[in-house]
C-alpha cells in the first residue's frame, strides 16, 4: 500500500480498510474479501496489532461493542484475533473515567478469548502469560507504583523493570 494520493488524484475505487483513499505501490495486488481473510485465517499473517476497550489477564479482548450504546460491529477484528499467532494490543492503560482497562475478566462483550500476547499502553509494555500481566517495561518517566495503581488484573512485577527506549 502506498501513501495517500496527491490532491486531485484520489480514486473512489482505491481505499484501505479504514475507507481512506490510498495509492498502490509497484508489486501491489488486488484481491477480494474472501481471499483477504483467507490470508488471515490461513495464518499467512504473523502479527496483528489492534486497539481494545478491555484486555483480561488471560488474554481475552473486548473491543467491538458497548451494550445499549455504540453499535458499530466487529468488522474483521474477530477473524484477526482468532487467527494470528502474535497479537499485540495498543491502547491507553485506563479509560476516560480513569478506570483500568487491564482487568481480571473483561466486562464488555468479547472479541476473542485467550489470544492477546502483549499489551502496549501509555504507561507500560506487558506480556500476558499464565493468567497474569507480566510487566516488561515502563514508559519514560512512569513509576512501577503508577502502573500498579492503574492495573486491575493480576500484575507480576519483576525485580528490574527497565524504562522503554523510544
Amino acid at each position: 500500500m502506498g501513501s495517500f494520493p496527491f490532491e486531485g488524484d484520489e480514486d473512489a475505487d482505491l481505499i484501505n480498510a479504514g475507507k481512506q483513499t490510498i495509492t498502490a505501490l509497484p508489486g501491489a495486488v488486488f484481491f477480494d474479501s474472501a481471499m483477504s481473510f483467507a490470508m488471515i485465517r490461513g495464518q499467512h499473517v504473523q502479527l496483528t496489532v489492534l486497539g481494545a476497550m478491555e484486555v483480561s489477564q488471560n488474554g481475552d479482548i473486548a473491543n467491538w461493542k458497548i451494550p445499549g450504546k455504540m453499535v458499530k460491529g466487529m468488522g474483521g477484528a474477530m477473524d484477526l484475533v482468532a487467527s494470528a499467532d502474535n497479537i499485540i494490543v495498543a491502547m491507553m492503560h485506563t479509560n476516560r473515567a480513569g478506570e483500568s482497562k487491564l482487568l481480571a475478566d473483561c466486562s464488555l462483550p468479547l472479541t476473542g478469548v485467550a489470544c492477546v500476547k502483549k499489551v502496549v499502553t501509555n504507561l507500560a509494555c506487558l506480556e500476558i502469560k499464565d493468567g497474569a500481566f507480566h510487566l516488561l517495561e515502563r514508559a519514560p518517566g512512569v513509576t512501577v507504583e503508577e502502573i500498579k495503581a492503574a492495573t486491575a488484573g493480576k500484575l507480576i512485577i519483576p525485580d528490574e523493570v527497565p524504562e522503554m527506549k523510544l
Partner: protein, 234 residues
C-alpha cells in the same frame, strides 16, 4: 451466446425483486456499491428486505437510502459505524441486525456460491457470535460452525463486463463483489463499461459469466468517497 443476459437499465435488471426478499449487495463502505440498482430499489419501494452487505452505507448514500425509507427489515453486516439512522433503528428495535465477523461474512457468501453448506472457523469462538453454534476442536483449537449464505438476488458492481456476464473489477472495488456474485439465485451485475463478448482478455476475468444472469451498463456514477485522504502537491 444463446442466453440473453443484457438488460437496458436498473429498472429491467431489478424486475422480480419483491418485498420480503433477501438481497446481497456488493461493496465495502461506499466503494464498489451498485449505485444504480440501489437507487432503483428506492424507487420501487420494496419493503421488508433482508440485506446482506458488509456495511450499511452512510445516511444519505448507499444502503442508507433504503434505511431512510424503512425498506430494510434485517441487515446482515460486519461493520455499520458510519450510519446514524442505522444505529437509531437498531437500538429502537425497528431494524433486526445480525453482525458477523467480516471474514466469516465473506466466506459464508463464497461457500453459498460454491455449494458448501457450512464450514468451521475460529472467528467468534467464545464470543456472542459463537453462542448456540456447534463447536469442534481442530488441531487443538476450537472452531464454530458457520452456515453458507445465499440470496434471492445478488447485486454487484463491476468495472467492465461483457454481454456474456464476464466481469472485471477495479482495484479495491472488487471487495465483496465476486463472492456475492456467486451466491445469488439471480445475480445482477451493473458495470461501468459493457463490451461485446471477445473484448475482455479471458486471462483477466475475475467473475466468470456463469454466475451472472443479468448485466447492464450503469450511468451517472457518483462514486462517493467516504474518507478523502490526500497529500498536498508540493
Amino acid at each position: 451466446m444463446a442466453i440473453h443476459k443484457v438488460v437496458s437499465n436498473a429498472q429491467e435488471a431489478c424486475e422480480g425483486i419483491e418485498s420480503g426478499m433477501t438481497l446481497m449487495l456488493g461493496g465495502f463502505g461506499l466503494c464498489g456499491i451498485p449505485e444504480n440498482s440501489i437507487a432503483h430499489l428506492v424507487k420501487m419501494g420494496v419493503k421488508d428486505l433482508t440485506c446482506i452487505s458488509n456495511n450499511a452505507g452512510v445516511d444519505d448514500f448507499g444502503l442508507g437510502l433504503l434505511l431512510q425509507g424503512k425498506q430494510i427489515k434485517k441487515m446482515i453486516s460486519s461493520y455499520v459505524g458510519e450510519n446514524d439512522e442505522f444505529e437509531r433503528q437498531m437500538l429502537s428495535g425497528e431494524l433486526e441486525v445480525d453482525l458477523i465477523p467480516q471474514g466469516s461474512l465473506a466466506e459464508r457468501c463464497r461457500a453459498g456460491g460454491a455449494g458448501i453448506p457450512a464450514f468451521f472457523t475460529p472467528a467468534g469462538y467464545g464470543t456472542e457470535v459463537g453462542e448456540g453454534k456447534e463447536v469442534r476442536v481442530f488441531n487443538g483449537k476450537p472452531h464454530i460452525l458457520e452456515h453458507a449464505l445465499t440470496a434471492d438476488y445478488a447485486i454487484v458492481r463491476a468495472w467492465k463486463g461483457d454481454t456474456a456476464g464476464n466481469l472485471i473489477f477495479k482495484a479495491t472495488a472488487r471487495n465483496f463483489n465476486p463472492v456475492m456474485a456467486m451466491a445469488g439465485k439471480i445475480t445482477i451485475a451493473e458495470v461501468e463499461e459493457l463490451v461485446p463478448i471477445g473484448e475482455l482478455d479471458p486471462n483477466e476475468i475475475h467473475t466468470p459469466g456463469i454466475f451472472v444472469q443479468r448485466i447492464f451498463q450503469g450511468k451517472s456514477y457518483e462514486k462517493r468517497i467516504e474518507q478523502r485522504t490526500v497529500k498536498p502537491r508540493s
